[in-house]
């Protein structure tokens, strides 16, 4: 069961002690379609992570409201609504392995579900299921999470989130600090889970290839505002706009632009993957 996310004129900032930050998010209104895989891109400090934190009330809207499925979070009703929202939204932070704490992997995975009232026996079953789902052996369940390798820790932490059976998955650069192979594995896993469960997924990323390859919608943020929302093809078609927002092009698109310049031709479509580019080149009779 997936859910739609709806933001209405949301303004938010952080307060750290006596220092109140300037507005991090400025009157944002948007709708994330139910069942969509949305990539959130933008430069550092543009408010991407803050946008994610709105979804489960880790950051509360100072003005406006955030509707997650049937739950509406406002500053006034935060106490009740936030708990409801957190049950539905699974959040994978940057370097999620830093949240591991329990004596065994199993207990760590069971932590989330049990906080939301899942009985112990059922939580155990879920743990067994998700550990297999992230591609780890069930024998790892009885080990200490601190005895694992870095990559394994990352998978265990993600399993801990998946175990909450969220309807909405929000991820803040889940593949940060991994090697290219590890990155692909993590992203493929997330994408498969998204498809299988029909989740609504929001992914913050710096990697435009991830956005081009996995997302069916891209949100571009700049200085606390959404400056673009639409399909990846649409975004990467406008090369000058992409550069103006301080973003890169996906590898294939970059190559396409270069080829077009060198050969003085224009291919009929925007190519986001190398396969698409190869096909387009054959079609145009250039290869």
């Amino acid at each position: 069961m997936a859910m739609q996310i709806n933001l209405q004129e949301v303004t938010a900032d952080y307060q750290a002690g006596p220092i109140r930050s300037p507005e991090i998010l400025k009157s944002i209104s948007t709708t994330i379609k139910s069942g969509s895989f949305t990539a959130v891109v933008g430069q550092t400090g543009s408010g991407k992570s803050s946008l994610l934190k709105l979804m489960n009330g880790l950051l509360l809207p100072k003005k406006g409201e955030v509707a997650v499925g049937e739950v509406t979070i406002t500053l006034e009703n935060a106490k009740q609504s936030v708990k409801e929202a957190r049950r539905k939204v699974g959040m994978v932070f940057q370097f999620p392995e830093s949240q591991l704490f329990a004596e065994t992997v199993e207990k760590d995975i069971m932590f989330g579900p049990m906080n939301f009232g899942v009985p112990e026996a059922e939580a155990k079953e879920i743990a067994l299921e998700v550990i297999g789902r992230v591609g780890l052996d069930a024998s790892i369940l009885s080990k200490s999470p601190f005895s694992l390798s870095g990559g394994q820790k990352r998978y265990v932490a993600m399993a801990g989130i998946l175990a909450m059976r969220p309807d909405i998955l929000v991820l803040d650069e889940p593949d940060a600090g991994l090697d290219p192979k590890g990155k692909k594995e993590v992203m493929d896993l997330i994408h498969a889970w998204h498809k299988e469960r029909g989740l609504t997924t929001l992914l913050v990323t710096h990697d435009m290839d991830d956005a081009a390859y996995y997302a069916d919608e891209v949100v571009v943020m700049e200085e606390g505002r959404i400056v673009f929302q639409g399909e990846p093809e649409q975004l990467f078609a406008d090369v000058s706009a992409v550069h103006q927002w301080g973003l890169e092009l996906p590898q294939a698109r970059k190559l396409q632009v270069k080829l077009e310049q060198e050969a003085g031709v224009t291919l009929p479509q925007v190519c986001l993957t190398l396969d698409q580019l190869a096909d387009a080149l054959v079609e145009a009779g250039l290869a």
């Binding site: 307060q15 750290a16 002690g17 006596p18 934190k53 489960n56 880790l58 708990k83 957190r86 049950r87 939204v89 699974g90 959040m91 932070f93 999620p96 830093s98 949240q99 591991l100 704490f101 329990a102 932590f111 989330g112 906080n115 939301f116 601190f146 801990g160 989130i161 909450m164």
Partner: protein, 270 residues
């Protein structure tokens, strides 16, 4: 944890920001002793005047200072209450056996409160206007004589500056772990005392782990760059003593002279 003001630095360019940290440290410590000279309304008034002038010069808003006192307010009120209840003398308003509320008790309570508040305010002025790193340099300098007693002064001050250096990092980390566990459904500050204590585990274990990892990384980084203890070290930052700094110390002497002149002779209370 974000509310703790004591120990934070506020960048600025006020007169107080420019004074040598050694002078500020000496002045701050001597202020605590000077406080004990005061024993009547006039002397406390002078001290309050001094304290408020310092707070004003620092250029930091009063609200922030008040917030700095807040975490300690119960401790202060408790001490004041003890003073009020157990000091006898003067006019007695309420008398319940050993507990009496008298005019002397009330006056003493006000004095004690003032002392606490002023110590906190003045030390906050110092930490708000001095970079932590400068403060440790100053402590290092002032502790130098203790080297004769074979005390590892340089190591102590290095530990101090490392500790200070890590405060913001660990606060940051705490916030992250807090967020991550809250996203997994934990609600802090809810449930019975035992439940609340259990909730600390998912927060502290990750913090301990990352702190240990960080400590090891740092030790390695220092070692590969040739750090050795017990070796004389030069410093990248040098402290410069200026005329204004001598004047600061002179101002403290002046303050004590004024107080000694204004103070009531003989023991008043206690």
């Amino acid at each position: 944890m974000n509310k703790l003001i004591l120990g934070r630095y506020f960048p600025g360019d006020s007169l107080l920001h420019c004074i040598d940290p050694r002078a500020k440290l000496i002045a701050g410590i001597s202020f605590i002793f000077i406080l004990f000279i005061a024993n009547n309304w006039l002397t406390y008034l002078v001290l309050w005047l001094f304290t408020f002038t310092m707070m004003k010069i620092s250029g930091v808003s009063l609200r922030i200072y008040i917030r700095g006192v807040r975490p300690l307010i119960w401790l202060i009120l408790f001490t004041v209450l003890l003073q009020v209840m157990f000091t006898a003398g003067g006019e007695i308003y309420i008398d319940w056996g050993p507990i009496t509320i008298s005019s002397f008790g009330l006056i003493n309570g006000v004095y004690i409160f003032s002392r606490f508040a002023m110590i906190i305010f003045v030390s906050t002025v110092i930490t708000l206007t001095t970079k932590p790193i400068d403060l440790t340099d100053a402590i290092n300098y002032l502790l130098q004589p203790l080297k004769r007693l074979k005390l590892p002064v340089d190591e102590i001050s290095l530990m101090l500056s490392v500790a200070l250096r890590f405060i913001p990092i660990i606060l940051d980390e705490t916030q992250k772990v807090l967020d991550a566990q809250r996203a997994r459904g934990i609600v802090f500050g809810e449930g019975s005392l035992l439940q609340q204590m259990k909730k600390i585990v998912p927060m502290f274990v990750p913090l301990f782990v990352s702190s240990l990892v960080r400590a090891e990384d740092m030790a390695n980084a220092m070692e590969v760059r040739g750090y050795q203890s017990n070796q004389p070290r030069s410093s990248f930052r040098r402290l410069h003593w200026r005329k204004g700094d001598t004047f600061t110390l002179f101002a403290m002497v002046l303050l004590s002279v004024i107080l000694i002149v204004l103070r009531t002779e003989g023991h008043h209370f206690h």
